[in-house]
């Protein structure tokens, strides 16, 4: 993609700007679709129909919502720290957007094909923590501060299981480059890391329970990382009003939401790439290629998005101490066992 762009526009700054803006082409429509999907899925779970009047089954409603938010007044609390208050939503967005740079959407497109891709994403997505803490602090609202403090504690704790689960996939694929990891899993569903990757059969069978555990933990920790039920403590509506974004309105609020939804896809994409073969077709060479790869990748991501929505509207919320307990005393020890076992099996 990079070569294609430079051959079209030439080696200049514009090519890089276009390249950098490409994920936005995906994120914006994706956010609209997911907002609609979330409303519809939750409504049908609750014996409702959700919005029906704006377009076919209310398909245009998210656009109307965005237009409404654009027109709203941007209020800033009098006692707020104005600089931080303005900066926070953008920092959250930057942290999320920078992560998309290393996501391989298809064999032909990855924003930046760096060798430390996974490591880079884990590192750069931590930037959102600072944004959230800034938002909570700058709002000068005790509830917001509570939300921010919870959020930081939560995201920092859950990065450990995420990193460890990622490590298991990395051990099997022997690469930190997400594009390489995806290529490693070519050749159909049986070669996905979830099923042990393209290794000898005995090794695959031995790996199976551990890759499954790591996959599940990565998914659970991913939900916690993006602050969704049952881990939505930072914005626990019934406890903290709205958490760190209580005082935000208008477009700044919309950016928080956009970042949250995009983050959902980011963790789904990482899970899909590491364990479900990324852009690979589940049928080997059938229906594969750059365009089909994109379709497969987005479908896998959306599958996880649907799971997240499903879980959100089913489960109650954990308490703060239970949240920490889950991370440090359940998920992390399990992953240590998995890492040890996977290491042993790979040496054999």
């Amino acid at each position: 993609m990079e070569e294609l762009l430079t051959s079209l526009i030439g080696e200049n700054i514009l090519a890089y700007v276009v390249l950098a803006a490409l994920p936005l082409l995906f994120i914006l429509p994706y956010a609209l679709v997911t907002v609609w999907l979330e409303m519809k899925v939750s409504a049908h779970m609750q014996d409702r129909v959700a919005y029906m009047y704006t377009g076919w089954h209310g398909i245009a409603q998210p656009i109307a919502d965005i237009l409404k938010l654009l027109q709203k007044e941007n209020t800033v609390p009098t006692a707020a720290d104005r600089t931080l208050y303005w900066l926070a939503p953008f920092l959250v967005f930057i942290g999320m957007y920078a992560g998309f740079a290393a996501i391989p959407f298809s064999v032909a497109y990855i924003g930046s094909n760096i060798d430390l891709g996974v490591f880079y994403i884990i590192a750069v997505s931590s930037l959102t923590v600072i944004g959230i803490l800034m938002a909570g602090w700058a709002s000068n609202n005790k509830w917001s501060l509570f939300g921010a403090m919870r959020s930081v504690a939560q995201i920092v704790s859950y990065e450990i299981p995420i990193a460890l689960a990622v490590l298991i996939a990395v051990m099997i694929t022997q690469s930190l480059n997400l594009q390489e990891i995806a290529k490693f899993q070519e050749g159909g569903i049986q070669n996905w890391v979830l099923f042990g990757g393209p290794l000898p059969l005995t090794q695959k069978l031995l790996l199976l329970p551990f890759t499954f555990t790591a996959f599940l933990i990565l998914f659970i920790a991913g939900i916690a990382e993006v602050n969704r039920t049952p881990f939505d403590l930072p914005e626990a509506e019934s406890e903290l009003v709205q958490g760190y974004n209580t005082e935000y309105s208008g477009m700044k609020f919309a950016i928080f939401y956009l970042a949250e939804y995009a983050n959902m896809f980011l963790v789904s994409a990482i899970t899909a790439t590491l364990f479900l073969g990324g852009w690979n077709s589940p049928f080997g060479d059938f229906l594969s290629g750059p365009v089909w790869g994109l379709v497969w990748f987005i479908s896998k991501g959306m599958f996880f998005i649907f799971l997240q929505i499903w879980i959100r509207w089913t489960l109650p919320r954990l308490r703060v101490d239970q949240l920490m307990y889950t991370s440090w005393k359940v998920l992390t020890p399990f992953l240590f066992v998995c890492i040890f076992a996977v290491g042993l099996i790979l040496i054999l």
Binding site: Q46, W143, E237, V241, T314
Partner: protein, 395 residues
Amino acid sequence: MSEPRVLPTDYVTKPGEFKTSTGKTLRTDEMIINMGPQHPSTHGVLRLEVVLDGEIVVDVIPHIGYLHRCFEKHAEHMANYQQVIPYVDRMDYLASMNNDWGYALAVERLMKIEVPPRVEYIRVIMAELNRIASHLIAIGTYGIDMGAFTPFLWCFRDRERILDLFEMTCGARLLYNYIWVGGVSHDLPLGFIDKAKDFCSYFRPKIKELNDVLSYNEIFIKRTAHVGVLPKDVAINYACSGPMLRGSGVDWDLRRDDPYGVYDKFEWGVEIGKGEKGTVGDCWDRYMVRVREMEQSLKIIEQALAGIPEGNVQSAIPKRIRPEQGEIYVRTESPRGELGFFIMSDGTASPYRVKARSPAFVNLSVLPEISRGGMLADLVAIVGSVDIVLGEVDR
């Protein structure tokens, strides 16, 4: 007397506990935070002044009165006893039928009026239907407090059917003014009995559904079991009543222990908390008592629908109700507990004094006692499990 409760004060940081790397002592301080009156989980305009140490609740001071509407004073200035009933409706607006009945019963006992048997049956059906509707809201909003949104809408869906029944009967969906002194405002409409029977058979599986998704959910149990434990003696000392008291394992239900209406003619049981998932008297017990009471109410309704006699729906009472000089206190079991009406008559057409003993107000008073030492999220769970209606707390 049970053992004195040990509060988890270990959590509370002591002054000078935190030191920086240079050995300097960090100052820790308690934070006072206002929860309400505009807060999603105070269930109305209740203001809680919460003293927090980190996430640990050190103290809670409830401030009430935002919904005070001078009900008792208004009642004294009504032209007659009947006119008080719409005001009574607005006390506990989630269980208007039960409130109506409590007041009407007090006036009837004061005047020694006997009501026809059909009226008694209608009143039982209405009161129990309203008890289910009220408990559905308590359960649904409790789900929201815990972060589970779906059960809330399921509860509202089922409550809608009960409201349809009420609308069919008296035209109103929330504030009914249906149970009058000496009877009910008008007879059951055609087809009501069948529709109510349909509701009973429809609703029973829904309780199971609710249990599957919320009551026995592992996270929900973790959030509510062992939380906000209200021991038997504390509950009695604070004069708690209703599901609050029964959740603590006290077998006390006015429908059985101080009978009124025709409850003694039906077969039903009193549900008490047994501490299945945690300690007796924790939030889960209080919640579960409500769920099980809905099943008992269904039983009562089914029997009442089967045995309802024909007859008048108004007893012959004088047009101007003018009780003899005297006073009376009558208590009934509203969905929230012991709802008492004290009425003093000076022989004129309007009451000299009306005092309501509202269960939600009394139950709320125990809140600081049981929420100290818990976390902020526990406080939300406890407030939800008390099931207050601010209209009744403030009157």
